[in-house]
């Protein structure tokens, strides 16, 4: 006799009604391997043959047997938020297919991303990103961010690899895997995720150990992205200090110094809350740096307004930092060159970034990590998460009262600060 199974009828009914993923979509190839799963390019198996990007969350394995182990917090977030939002500048989720212990998120396809554009201009075009493209990219990015922030969603992982752009030149913010709803949270944000934002894009308040942080961390990241689009290399390219054996988050000295080298050491005058930060003493121990942002800008471009926008986004005090809306309405965008809905509008053909490369999937090879399959070998591992990014079975299980009990920290393979990332050369 079969073991007692009260859900047999239910399972039977559900499985019978299920339309198999493979009957709806045909995988065309593999795009990228992230922390939790893999991204594929696929087309619908109908006459229209529409193209989509599929983010497939791998099922966990216990030994060789694939079992149900519980859906990761990251997948839950990404699904929950994506189901509620809809905006031209946010990657749209078409549907979610749950099948065979895997989760397939079907997203609208975006041919390019900011990382790829940066790479293209630094290595192939070997020239700066033209102002119209730069301006359109940032403007649309801010437009999407205004929407997210209006929805009380903090993205918390804005960086070039997560900002996509489709072949019509429309910017699409992607990867809501770290994003959070901030409207009356049940837990303080800090206790949920000790470390957010990939280090180069991490705001100073986070680096100084802030427990309460705001949407302003996303605006800082926009500043970093804008600067990177301008100089074709990360503006604050620090080395990440590793978590110690007790999994405490160490003081990110190198990253802080990289910021101070450009922006100068912050003063209590401009940032009255400074002495309250946990890392204040560590910070005080550093040398004193003079501000050099103006210099940084004038050696690269002439627009005073662009300099001003960067300055606003790089305000140390999060309360003074430009909000997404303020930045979106900044006068730089109404200066002579206007942003366009198609960011590629008017670009010479050789300036247009190449199509996304796809490779044949080797998913059958269980532990294959296709670093070399990445479409951007020079930017190896652009999808890494912040260091404490928690894996499927290792979410923060702090009790409902906000106490951190066990936090499993896992550093993704290949060092998330992208140490292997080649520096783009810019003459």
């Amino acid at each position: 006799m079969l073991p007692y199974d009260p859900m047999r009828a239910y399972r039977h009914k559900r499985d019978a009604a299920h339309q198999a993923f493979n009957t709806k979509y045909a995988m065309l190839g593999f795009i990228s391997s992230g922390t939790y799963g893999r991204v594929y390019k696929a087309k619908t198996r109908d006459a229209e043959e529409r193209i989509y990007a599929i983010k497939k969350f791998k099922p966990d394995k216990e030994g060789e047997v694939v079992t149900y182990t519980g859906i990761s917090q990251s997948a839950i977030r990404e699904i929950a938020l994506n189901r509620e939002i809809s905006h031209e500048n946010i990657v749209a989720l078409r549907e979610v297919v749950l099948e065979d212990k895997s989760i397939y998120m079907v997203f609208e396809y975006a041919e390019h991303d900011f990382l790829q554009i940066i790479h293209h201009f630094s290595t192939t075009v070997r020239a700066m990103v033209p102002p119209s493209l730069l301006k359109s990219c940032i403007h649309q990015l801010l437009n999407g961010l205004v929407y997210l922030h209006t929805c009380h969603i903090q993205h918390r992982d804005l960086k070039p690899a997560n900002i996509l752009i489709n072949s019509d030149g429309v910017v699409k913010i992607g990867d809501l895997g770290l994003a959070r709803l901030t409207y009356s949270p049940l837990q303080p944000l800090y206790s949920g995720d000790k470390v957010v934002v990939t280090i180069w894009y991490r705001a100073p308040e986070l680096l100084l150990g802030a427990r309460h942080y705001t949407k302003a961390i996303d605006c800082w990241a926009v500043g970093c992205v804008m600067a990177e689009l301008i100089s074709l290399r990360p503006i604050f390219k620090g080395e990440e200090a590793k978590l110690d054996h007790k999994k405490n988050v160490p003081f990110q000295k190198d990253q802080v110094v990289k910021i101070f080298e450009v922006l100068g050491t912050p003063s209590v005058h401009e940032w009255p809350g400074l002495p309250q930060f946990p890392e204040y003493l560590n910070m005080k121990a550093l040398d004193n740096y003079p501000p050099k942002l103006t210099e940084w800008c004038t050696t690269r471009f002439r627009s005073k307004d662009a300099t001003d926008l960067l300055r606003q986004l790089f305000m140390y005090n999060p309360e003074n930092r430009a909000t997404a809306l303020e930045a979106f309405n900044h006068k730089w965008f109404s200066e002579d060159i206007k942003p366009t809905r198609n960011a590629f509008h008017g670009l010479p053909p050789n300036h247009c970034p190449p199509l996304r490369k796809i490779t044949q999937d080797e998913a059958s090879l269980a532990h294959h990590v296709p670093a070399s399959n990445n479409n951007n070998p020079a930017y190896n591992n652009p999808n890494s998460k912040p260091a404490s990014w928690k894996p499927a079975s290792g979410q923060n299980f702090g009790s409902a009262f906000g106490v951190n009990t066990a936090v499993t920290m896992q550093v993704p393979a290949g060092n998330n600060s992208g140490g292997s990332r080649k520096k783009p050369r810019l003459e």
Binding site: Y4, P6, M7, A9, Y10, R11, K13, R14, T67, Y68, T69, G70, I71, Q73, I76, I79, A80, L81, R83, E84, I85, S86, V96, L98, K101, C151, H152, I153, R180, L181, T182, Y183, S184, P185, L186, Q187, P188, L189, S191, G192, H212, S393, Q395, N396, F397, S399, A400, F401, G402
Partner: protein, 384 residues
């Protein structure tokens, strides 16, 4: 979207009408009466609340679990499923959706010990993690991946101009840990005005909101209407709590008392402020731009829920107006006899039998008669 209820999946896909709800029950109705199903509805909300507390879930996460559970049974039947496994998956999934995750193992261990213990006396419950994780997977699919749920708590607090829940940590909805971030516009009413109630009154409305999850209200009405109805209910409906509420009420408004408030005649006003209270409440609610007939239907449902709940032997509301509710229940709906008290073990047994009968029907379909007629027969037997 966090503030835009009208654009939410909750509003667009998960508010149904009574008719849809009844259709969804068709299969279960072959094995139970409407009233029995409603009793089960009260019962499982209580079970979820118990399990949720064991798992350390906040009130809001518990409420989300209940909503998941009710949405699931819009598409499925008790007689085809194991509601105990389903509700455990609801708690597990809601804990993550509300960003207060619990371990899979913890969820299954706690659930198993609770359900197989003497309270419920359930004979079989999985001890295997993967069974619960599998259920979560199906559940997510049946929920169509819509995991963001709106609750009346926020409206309640906003309406009373509060940042924090009026109840101690354990019971609170608990936005209190983070900095309160009520920086969004209201999605209901006029967006202006505030009820200035004292803690006790808000607390009572809060408990009423908690109790609404024992009914189908969360499937039928937008949360802000449930909040308004809960305030109304807590303040004006039953006389004995009325005086308790009245004495804790104070309105800061300087409006002169008017005679508009017919409701004020419900209680025996002790102070002049009390008269104002009723009037002000009416004015305030009228100014909200919400439909009063809808509010009245919600209140009806709340009353019906309380009278059902009073038939259960466990977990009844322990707040003051409860005893008066029992009296209220008698005068308002079908008379309730004390010997009608239903125990959790009996209800657990009942739902188990529903499934067994269904299984028997599927395994041995009586050959001659068409199924439909047969089902009707079954139902008469069950009722009799």
């Amino acid at each position: 979207m966090a503030t835009d209820y009208w654009a939410s999946s909750h509003h667009r896909r998960w508010i149904v009408d009574r008719h849809t709800l009844n259709n969804a029950r068709a299969e279960d109705l072959e094995y139970a009466t409407h009233e029995q199903l409603a009793l089960l509805g009260v019962f499982f909300a209580t079970v979820i609340s118990k399990l949720g507390k064991r798992l350390g879930l906040r009130q809001r996460a518990i409420a989300t679990s209940v909503v998941f559970f009710r949405r699931f049974y819009l598409k499925n039947s008790y007689c085809d499923t194991d509601p105990f496994l389903v509700l455990t998956a609801c708690c597990y999934l809601a804990s993550k959706a509300e960003e207060t995750p619990v371990h899979l193992k913890t969820a299954i261990v706690e659930a198993r010990s609770l359900f197989t213990g003497e309270d419920y006396n359930l004979k079989q419950f999985p001890s295997d993690n993967s069974k619960l994780a599998e259920m979560e997977f199906y559940l997510l699919d049946d929920l169509e991946c819509d995991l963001t749920v709106y609750h009346p708590y926020r409206t309640l607090l906003a309406m009373c101009g509060k940042d924090n829940p009026p109840v101690p940590e354990d019971d609170a909805e608990a936005g209190e840990l983070g900095k309160p971030q009520h920086d969004g516009p209201r999605y209901w009413g006029t967006g202006i005005g505030k009820l200035d109630l004292e803690e006790g009154a808000i607390q009572m409305a809060w408990f009423v909101v908690n109790d609404t999850y024992r009914s189908d209200l969360c499937l039928l009405y937008p949360p802000h209407l449930i909040a308004v109805a809960s305030i109304f209910f807590a303040l004006t409906l039953h006389p004995s709590s009325r005086s308790a509420v009245d004495s804790s009420l104070a309105f800061s408004s300087s409006h002169p008392p008017s005679n508009a408030g017919g409701r004020a005649s419900h209680g025996q006003p002790k102070r002049s402020t009390v008269v104002r209270t009723g009037d002000e409440l009416i004015l305030f609610l009228a100014g909200l731009n919400v439909s009063m007939p809808l509010i009245a239907s919600i209140i009806q449902e709340i009353i019906a829920m309380y009278s059902l709940w009073n038939r259960m032997s466990e977990g009844r509301a322990d707040w003051a107006p409860q005893s008066s509710m029992q009296r209220k229940g008698k005068s308002n709906s079908s008379p309730i006899k004390q010997d009608d008290l239903v125990t959790p073990v009996a209800l657990t047994q009942f739902v188990l039998e529903m499934r067994e009968r269904k299984e028997r029907d599927v395994a041995h379909p009586p050959s001659a008669k068409p199924t439909a007629i047969n089902k009707v027969l079954e139902r008469t037997q069950a009722a009799g």
